[in-house]
């Protein structure tokens, strides 16, 4: 088939060497080659946000990026958010606020929220709503997701982070 390319992906602090076709998306590479199946595919055309990962600090739709473009960048996926067995504060806030039902959209919301909070540690409710407006959740009606993100921001500020 099509020519294979070598690429080294730095994912959650670990380097992985992969052989991929030029057309393989980063999402498919994470899921199929690295077995990091926490990154989900809801549309594969850049609208739903389920596939969001953090690339050098920015939220990126891994269905719209090729694996070969990821050479040399730092990628964080949902699998990289918890500290061992301890949920991150954001994950814990999602749990505490009932911010997930089926959980399919959750990885994309978590990664999006992390990059939002890194950029703006004190978002207003409206800013959170707008920041996650590119992620679709069919179950929760968004309200508890917004609450969870605002809770996390507040706790981080209070924690002096």
């Amino acid at each position: 088939m099509t020519a294979q390319h070598s690429v080294t992906l730095n994912v959650n602090g670990t380097a992985h060497d992969c052989e991929v076709e030029a057309r393989m998306t980063l999402a498919d590479c994470l899921r199929e080659k690295l077995d990091l199946t926490g990154t989900h595919l809801g549309c594969e055309h850049g609208v739903c946000g389920a596939c969001t990962v953090i690339v050098d600090g920015a939220a990126v739709r891994s269905c719209l990026m090729f694996a070969v473009q990821a050479q040399g960048v730092q990628i964080t996926t949902v699998e990289g958010l918890a500290d061992g067995d301890t949920l991150s504060d954001l994950q814990q806030a999602f749990h505490d606020n009932f911010a997930l039902q089926c959980g399919f959209c959750t990885p994309g919301f978590l990664t999006t929220a992390e990059s939002v909070l890194a950029e703006n540690p004190s978002p207003t409710r409206a800013e959170v709503q707008s920041a996650i407006s590119g992620n679709i959740c069919r179950c929760t009606g968004y309200v508890p997701i917004i609450d969870a993100i605002l809770d996390t921001a507040k706790r981080r500020r209070e924690g002096g982070q």
Binding site: G42, C48, E79, Q101, F104, G141
Partner: protein, 770 residues
């Protein structure tokens, strides 16, 4: 029952969250089996066409392609996808087979299958399949279908899959006597469940064993197993349906679809496991659509607005085939048209019309969403015509507690016993009116502030839950103290595991952390009813309760044996059996489990139960209010505030109930403003991606208050539960439609058609010079 009830009624955190939060859930596409191949489906690009020839040669030649096949290559009789619900006479002429042979009837119908080593290659090969189609005219509207100039299924001789009339009382007489009558046509837009995870399946077919194992099943696994076994001529025991984590169901996922047959056929052909994952474009044409009802509704009242009768014609656009959900959508739309009101006379002509569109199935609140929209819009028109306040008109007509229970009559053929159980409908409305400050609103309807017109709309609903076959549960205590619940119910993401564990923990008086819940798969329990119609908490919940009660009795039996004493002096409490002897002896569940095990391999501390509500349904009911602000210049509607009340009998987990209400409500806003499967006159779906098919996002949210009422516990199960999954969605279009009409009352614009879009509103405003 246990002494204390520390879990039921509390917002216990969900047991299933951790795996979803850490990316370690196991959804169907996360599963990889050794030697697994991947299949992709060539789907019809035409709405209606004859197939002259299919050429798979080029596709098969692609390196990495293992096999390709079409109907002609399949060496078994192609089964018909069965009717599971509302199987009315006449439908048998319109059933679908898994793959088209001589003719295609909707865009997206399977025509050929490619199996390859990976999905990229499979999709490359799809592009090389050549099909010679002879296009036919497409039937895309119910009126066109009824005219019958083009037949979707020639052998049936008509496009009317079935038609019947239901009613109660003498409707024609009511209309003759009425001081006031009105007639309107309402349409609800075709849209669908659109869960975030598309459908997917993995089949492992081993003809030698024989074994068909299908991963990715959900919802009604035992029904599906029975039919798959028959289709593949296997004993039921040789078919295993395995449930994985599921990214949302909402009615559409887990029904039998063409792919439930095609993936096993593919696996059988190549002797390897085969995976199929639907992409989003496929999902929007291949997974059941819903709604799509045209309703001509007439109402007759006294001059004080007391309803004397209703007459209606309900036309359901069924799409190209009748699938598993049969006539649910239109039949329920008809049944729920009179709603929670005293409507002494009612008559409804119900028509099921076949068109060249994706087949229809259920979506959360099937038929109810549609019926509430039509009726509640009509009531507001009556109120305006008779100059009665809309809330007052409703209070005049709502059934009172003294009217209940009420046998509604045979409003679905064969459903002769349907009975609204006890409740207090006016109370649910009055609490809504208080919460939303209705009294202050009467004079503010239509107020314009800064170019935005304000309106408040209300709507009432009633909604059945928990129908269908019995549900099963088995509870086992392991010698290490772990407690396992197995149930035939499925989880589609709504928190089933948590809810079942709460009930079990209370009825066994144990810590919830000890409890694990396994559900759905046919390998876990001998039989099960499944998950639909808001039934898990009621059906599976009561099965778990009964199993726990039986397990208490079993514990006492074992303790009596162990102590060599009479069981009558023993008592189960706090997770152990107690003896009122001098030593106050205690045997914990752990000790009893170990004791049971020591007695022999067949012994266990376990109990089975099945709960059957014998068709006695509990009805959830309530009311919705929407406050909208409309930008008159652009036609953009903002829902500023939304309040709903919903009587659910008893809340198992208030936070999860709230999640159902808010999630349902936001889906309902989508169905009211956004979600729309738009077809052109050739039957092409114009909204085949998320760029065109719009879903609600986080910026579309009103300020929401969802109040779960627990004033009227169900009489039909000892825990008092009623379904809580659909009350959030069923009256959204109704309340919003009324709010928009009130906001624009200066222009006398009536909302009769969904969705409500800026361009439609602007067109209506332009037409009146606004």
């Amino acid at each position: 029952m246990s002494a204390s009830t520390p879990y039921i009624g509390r917002s216990v955190k969900r047991l299933e969250d951790r795996r979803f939060l850490t990316g370690t859930g196991r959804y169907i596409d996360d599963i990889k089996l050794p030697d697994m191949a991947v299949m992709a489906i060539y789907r019809s690009p035409h709405a209606h066409a004859r197939i002259n020839a299919i050429d798979l040669t080029a596709a098969k030649a692609v390196p990495g392609v293992i096999d390709a096949f079409c109907a002609a290559d399949i060496d078994m009789d192609l089964p018909e996808i069965p009717l599971r619900l509302a199987p009315f006479d006449g439908f048998e002429r319109f059933l679908q087979r898994p793959i088209a042979d001589d003719k295609v009837r909707y865009v997206g119908e399977p025509v050929a299958v490619v199996i390859a080593s990976d999905r990229y290659i499979a999709e490359d090969a799809l592009d090389l399949i050549e099909v010679d189609f002879a296009p036919l005219p497409a039937v895309t509207q119910v009126d066109q279908a009824a005219a019958g100039d083009t037949l979707v299924h020639e052998d049936a001789g008509e496009n009317m899959a079935t038609r019947y009339t239901v009613g109660r009382g003498d409707a024609d007489d009511a209309f003759r006597r009425a001081a006031y009558t009105r007639r309107e046509r309402f349409t609800t837009n075709r849209h669908g469940a659109v869960p975030m995870e598309t459908r997917g399946l993995i089949a492992e077919f081993n003809p030698d064993t024989p074994l068909l194992r299908l991963h990715g099943a959900t919802k009604v696994n035992f029904f599906n197993r029975r039919h798959l076994a028959a289709a593949f001529d296997l004993p039921e025991a040789a078919v295993e349906l395995i449930e994985t984590d599921v990214g949302g169901g909402f009615g559409a996922r887990g029904e039998l679809y063409p792919e439930d047959y095609l993936v096993p056929i593919a696996s059988r052909r190549i002797g390897r496991p085969v995976k199929w994952i639907e992409d989003r474009r496929e999902n929007l044409t291949a997974t059941n659509h819903s709604r799509d009802i045209v309703c001509d509704l007439e109402i007759a009242t006294t001059d004080e607005g007391r309803i004397l009768g209703m007459r209606a014609t309900v036309q359901g656009d069924m799409g190209a085939y009748i699938r598993t959900n049969g006539g649910v959508v239109a039949s329920k739309a008809a049944q729920f048209l009179p709603g929670p009101y005293r409507v002494p006379a009612f008559s409804c002509d119900v028509q099921f019309l076949v068109t060249n569109k994706t087949p229809v199935g259920t979506f959360r609140g099937p038929g109810r969403f549609e019926a509430n929209f039509c009726r509640e819009r009509m009531l507001d028109m009556v109120a305006a015509d008779l100059n009665i306040d809309p809330a007052e008109l409703r209070l005049r007509n709502l059934m009172e507690p003294a009217d209940l229970p009420y046998r509604i009559g045979e409003l679905v053929p064969g459903d002769v016993n349907a009975t609204f159980d006890r409740g207090n409908y006016p109370s649910a409305l009055n609490q809504l009116l208080d919460e939303v400050g209705y009294a202050d609103w009467k004079d503010r309807q239509g107020t314009i502030i800064d170019g935005r017109a304000y309106g408040l709309g209300i709507a009432c609903f009633i909604e059945s839950s928990a129908a269908g076959p019995p549900e099963t549960a088995r509870i086992t205590v392991a010698a290490d103290g772990a407690i396992e619940i197995r149930t035939g119910a499925s989880s589609v993401g709504q928190g089933t595991e948590t809810g079942m564990a709460q009930i079990c923990a209370d009825y066994l008086s144990v810590d919830i952390d000890r409890i694990g819940v396994l559900h759905g798969s046919t390998t876990l329990v001998p039989t099960g009813g499944g998950t639909f119609h808001s039934r898990n908490t009621v059906m599976a919940g009561n099965a778990v309760r009964m199993a726990a009660e039986t397990l208490q009795a079993r514990s006492i039996e074992l303790a009596a044996l162990r102590w060599n004493t009479d069981a009558s002096g023993l008592e189960y409490r706090d997770g152990a059996v107690h003896q009122n002897d001098a030593a106050a002896s205690v045997l914990s569940l752990v000790e009893l489990a170990a004791f049971a095990q020591s007695r022999g391999t067949d012994e266990a501390l376990a109990a089975d139960a099945a709960f059957d509500n014998e068709g006695k349904l509990s009805y959830s009911y309530g009311a919705h209010a929407a406050l909208v602000a409309i930008d008159v210049a652009t036609g953009v509607v903002e829902v500023e505030k939304y309040v709903l009340t919903e009587e659910i009998g008893r809340a198992l987990n208030p936070a999860m109930v709230q999640g159902q209400a808010i999630g349902g409500l936001v889906q309902g806003l989508g169905g009211t403003f956004l979600d729309h499967m738009v077809y052109d006159e050739d039957g092409q779906l114009l909204t085949g991606s998320f760029a065109d098919y719009l879903l609600p996002t986080s910026t579309d949210l009103p300020d929401i208050t969802a109040i779960a009422l627990e004033e009227s516990p169900s009489e039909f199960n000892p825990m008092g539960f009623k379904g809580a999954g659909e009350g959030g969605i069923v009256a959204v279009a109704a309340a919003v439609g009324n709010a928009v009409t009130h906001a624009l009352n200066a222009h006398n614009i009536q909302i009769n058609d969904l969705p409500i879009t800026p361009d439609r509103l602007r067109a209506a405003l332009r037409a009146v010079g606004a």
